[in-house]
């Protein structure tokens, strides 16, 4: 009832083809439609570039500073990935800790929320003081910003367990560690995946914001630097170009995380119920 039965002739190739048709083509089609609507709107209402530059202007800005954007993409992407990985790691560890008792949980949660609600500008000096400017500082900001969803989801996944399973472990005198590693942790995998999807996007924003405050030092420019620069110069088309590239980065990281989740979740979760026959 779970995996749908294979259809008549289903070779790997045709499966890949249908995957392609269903998951790659529609977003592309919609993307073209959105571009056209955007262009149409800009032309029709005569929207001035300082309010919203048309897509062609943005595209040509992307092309003209291609090299710079590529470098920035890689640099910011690197920081985001490192910050995100730290979030996943630390978030999971904190989830493990929080799952150990309601007392720890209810005492610790406010500090986790603090991480989320503290405006980064207020702690940026502290972060820079501790982690230094450049890569370390940027990663730290990305980490702080993307940590909370991991904590929230890890904790939920480790605490919402079928009571029968819990009883089973207790009856076998499972130790705290065994309950953690053999029950809570695997049980939390689907939640961790949901959290990771949220966090991955936040890590990109975090890296960009981190670059606002920490930078990488002269000569190395991330996307945050370019966004800051073009904002100051009121170069809306270049700004949008940088924003587009940031979004691309976000979507890429998100996509990779989703793909990994799907693979991992094939073992865990009930399958998505979409349009069965």
């Amino acid at each position: 009832m779970v995996t749908g039965p294979a259809t008549g002739v289903s070779t790997a190739a045709s499966q890949w083809g249908s995957y392609f048709l269903r998951t790659i083509v529609p977003p592309l089609v919609l993307f073209v439609i959105v571009l056209m609507a955007w262009d149409g709107a800009v032309r029709f209402w005569g929207i001035k570039p300082y309010i919203l530059p048309g897509p062609w202007r943005v595209l040509s800005a992307i092309v003209s500073s291609q090299e710079e954007l590529t470098k920035a993409f890689l640099l910011t992407g690197g920081s985001a990935v490192v910050g995100f990985s730290l979030s996943v790691l630390v978030g999971t560890l904190v989830g493990c800790l929080f799952s150990q008792s309601t007392i720890i949980r209810s005492s610790g949660y406010p500090y986790a929320i603090f991480l989320q609600t503290v405006p980064i500008i207020a702690v940026a000096p502290l972060i820079i003081l501790w982690f230094g400017r450049g890569f370390g500082g940027v990663v730290a900001v990305a980490f702080v910003i993307s940590l909370f969803p991991m904590i929230a989801n890890a904790t939920a996944g480790m605490v919402q367990i079928d009571p029968d399973l819990f009883d089973l472990f207790k009856l076998n005198d499972a130790s705290r560690w065994q309950i953690l590693f053999k029950l809570r942790l695997p049980n939390s995998v689907p939640s961790l995946c949901t959290g990771a999807r949220t966090s991955s996007g936040l890590a990109v924003v975090g890296a960009i914001v981190g670059e606002f405050y920490a930078g990488y030092g002269s000569k190395h420019f991330g996307l945050g630097y370019i966004i800051r620069l073009t904002t100051d110069q009121a170069k809306t088309d270049a700004l949008f170009a940088a924003v587009m590239v940031s979004t691309l980065l976000g979507i890429l990281i998100f996509g990779v995380v989703s793909l990994i989740s799907l693979t991992v979740l094939a073992r865990w979760a009930p399958p998505e119920v979409g349009e069965r026959a």
Binding site: K48, G217, T230, A234
Partner: protein, 324 residues
């Protein structure tokens, strides 16, 4: 809801004594500070009301797109700097400067006296020096072009004074009447290197409006300019009432910093070279120079640069013409 028509100017406001006032909104480019004092003075001392205007001054904040607002008609008037105006105009925003209360730019680089730096050249030669400034701002581009900063680490300006206070060999972008004051309050010993000394000196705290409003309602613009000018004169002479008002708006902006601000502002508004009574004047040569500098540093394309369209002196001239 893009680009709503300029509606703020329509509906009228009645005062208690039955006068009908025209509502006007002025948007600032930052939180209320001494650099906006003249406009507040016009408000506090009733100069706007004398002109039949009910003015609201809206504080701004970081990255507030004042010129864009003005061009889009979201606010009738705005306060922003000349370089910013030229850059946004290049994006087809037709906003126009009508009054320039500050002749000289308060923009400076603030360093610690302990660093031993007294000039820009010493700064550029200092090993392991860190300079915090927003790289895209024209003054920063100008510095990078004018000086050889290859030895200096340029980092983004994060809006916080803390790094300046904690590190000796650290410089930060500043306005010479606010950051140095705050730094001194934290027992630091700052030295200001004025960017204008290097030759980059855009008008600051310009009063800006849209071409559309100038064409549709020049009388209104005239009234605002006249009252603002009066306000600025008053503020430089007798700032106390105004500062009290700004302080009442915002407890964080203490009287001491405001009073310090006015003192610092006076030479910026009325430098020695300016003939008496010409407070608020704009010099076409300054605009051309600024425009050329922006083109040279690559912030502006030559084809987009039309400095003569960015300002008009007609309202200033009318306001300062001796009464017939």
């Amino acid at each position: 809801p893009m680009n709503p028509a300029n509606q703020a100017g329509e509906g009228a406001v009645k005062t208690a004594d039955g006068k009908t006032l025209t509502p006007v909104e002025i948007t600032l480019n930052w939180f209320p500070e001494a650099e906006h004092g003249g406009f507040y003075a016009a408000l506090v001392n009733g100069y706007f009301e004398e002109e039949g205007l009910a003015v609201t001054i809206k504080p701004g904040g970081p990255d507030i797109p004042v010129v864009q607002y003005v061009a889009a008609g979201q606010t009738q008037f705005g306060v922003d700097n000349a370089d910013k105006l030229l850059l946004v105009r290049a994006q087809e925003a037709d906003a126009v400067a009508v009054l320039a209360p500050l002749q000289d730019s308060p923009r400076c680089i603030m360093v610690q006296a302990e660093s031993g730096i007294k000039t820009f050249d010493e700064l550029a030669a200092k090993p392991k020096f860190t300079l915090a400034m927003n790289p895209g701002q024209p003054f920063a581009m100008y510095l990078q072009k004018k000086l050889d900063l290859s030895k200096v680490t340029v980092v983004p300006y994060g809006g916080s004074l803390v790094p300046f206070l904690t590190e000796k060999d650290f410089g930060t972008q500043a306005y010479n009447f606010s950051e140095p004051f705050n730094a001194r309050k934290q027992n630091a010993n700052p030295v200001n290197l004025m960017v204008s000394d290097l030759g980059f000196n855009p008008y600051t705290s310009l009063l800006i409006t849209s071409r559309e409003l100038i064409e549709k309602n020049p009388e209104l613009v005239q009234k605002v300019v006249r009252a603002s000018l009066k306000g600025w004169r008053k503020y430089l002479d007798d700032p106390h009432g105004t500062n009290t008002y700004i302080n009442s708006l915002n407890k964080e902006m203490g009287m001491d910093i405001l009073d310090f601000g006015v003192e610092t502002l006076k030479p910026l508004c009325e430098p020695a070279r300016l003939p008496a009574g010409q407070l608020g004047k704009m010099d076409p040569a300054e605009w051309t120079k600024l425009s050329q500098q922006l083109v040279e540093m690559g912030a502006l394309e030559a084809s987009q640069s039309a400095p003569e369209k960015a300002y008009t002196t007609q309202f200033f001239e009318a306001a300062t013409k001796p009464e017939k």
